[in-house]
């Protein structure tokens, strides 16, 4: 393993910690507010290790939506991982089978983006070392941040409205995701449907809104090409 590439991975990931730490803190706080025990909260971060999906599931668990809705919502949010998996797979081809599973487990938006960019740019990178540097350090920072959030969340008065940080995180992720007309249309339509369907039982309004948004996005994209 090339230590230089391992270090390069950690170094490239480190500016991202500025975003990952507050995100992890919010997830820790949200888990406590949703009624999870501290052990459950930390275990969720270790087992799931996907921030937006964790937050969405926690919101739904806290509102006592059926757990099946929480699970389906989290899985939909994580569907994008399939794209990353397909895109990074050729780079992992030469690795032994048994390490491909743990490498998959730590695959995140950031680890994917940084690694694929580096592999394309510098062909002689030790891919395993670089990926481990990026993904491993992100994993560690995420877990420590969640634990800190759980500790903080247990002692904060509810009037401060710390749970408002949850939609703020989603907002910060949403804005760059709306980067052209079709994606913007998908977001706006999903928002309108979600507000209109807020009273629908079992929080199914969320899923309906997401599906309508995706369909509208596809329709706008097709319309642009005609």
């Amino acid at each position: 393993m090339d230590r230089e590439d391992l270090r390069a991975g950690v170094r490239d990931a480190s500016p991202l910690f500025l975003g990952i730490v507050p995100f992890a803190l919010v997830v820790g706080v949200a888990a406590v507010e949703a009624g999870l025990t501290p052990v459950q909260a930390v275990a969720m971060s270790v087992i799931v290790f996907a921030g937006a999906a964790q937050l969405a599931a926690l919101e739904l668990i806290g509102e006592t939506a059926p757990l099946s809705v929480a699970v389906v919502t989290a899985v939909i949010i994580n569907l994008r991982m399939v794209m990353y998996s397909a895109s990074i797979a050729p780079h992992f081809r030469s690795f032994r089978r048994r390490i491909q599973a743990p490498l998959s487990y730590v695959l995140t938006d950031q680890a994917y983006a940084l690694s694929v960019a580096r592999f394309a740019r510098e062909g002689n990178t030790d891919r395993l070392a670089y990926y481990l540097g990026v993904a491993g350090s992100i994993w560690l920072v995420w877990q420590v941040g969640t634990v800190a959030g759980v500790v903080v969340g247990a002692g904060v008065p509810p009037e401060l409205g710390l749970s408002f940080a949850v939609p703020l995180v989603f907002l910060a992720l949403l804005v760059p995701a709306m980067k052209d007309r079709p994606t913007t249309a998908a977001g706006i339509v999903a928002a309108v449907v979600a507000v209109a369907a807020a009273g629908v039982p079992y929080n199914l309004g969320l899923l309906v809104a997401a599906v309508v948004g995706i369909v509208v996005g596809l329709a706008v994209e097709v319309g642009e090409k005609v």
């Binding site: 969720m44 757990l67 569907l79 399939v82 487990y105 907002l171 709306m178 339509v189 997401a210």
Partner: protein, 117 residues
């Protein structure tokens, strides 16, 4: 407090975790047999993040009051704080700044006037 049983929550956590791992491992495992995500699926997946995230954000900022009818009631100070945060997110694309400014705006609107600011 969740309204769900202790073990039910554990079960949900494990199911989400296993499903998420399966999504991450899917093509890394299959590679060699399947080359890539079909283009149609890929195109649809592109719209998942904006649609899902918007559907999560909007009801947290705006709620419709059934008594007023169609008019959206401004859900206390959350909508204003959310709009300020959206502006910061748009200009900076910085998660930390978005949370900090959004929470600051919420506290200012909620407590600031009471303190004579």
């Amino acid at each position: 407090m969740t309204g769900h049983g202790y073990w039910a929550v554990w079960f949900a956590i494990v199911v989400i975790g296993v499903a998420t791992f399966a999504l991450r491992f899917s093509f890394i495992y299959l590679f060699g047999r399947v080359d890539e995500v079909p283009p149609r699926v890929r195109r649809a997946l592109r719209f998942v993040p904006p649609a899902v995230l918007a559907a999560l954000v909007a009801p947290a900022l705006v709620t419709i009051d059934p008594d007023i009818g169609v008019v959206a009631s401004l859900a206390d100070e959350r909508l204003a704080a959310g709009l300020v945060a959206a502006g910061v997110a748009w200009r900076t694309e910085n998660l930390f700044l978005t949370i900090a400014v959004g929470m600051g705006a919420l506290w200012l609107l909620r407590f600031g006037f009471g303190m004579g600011l």
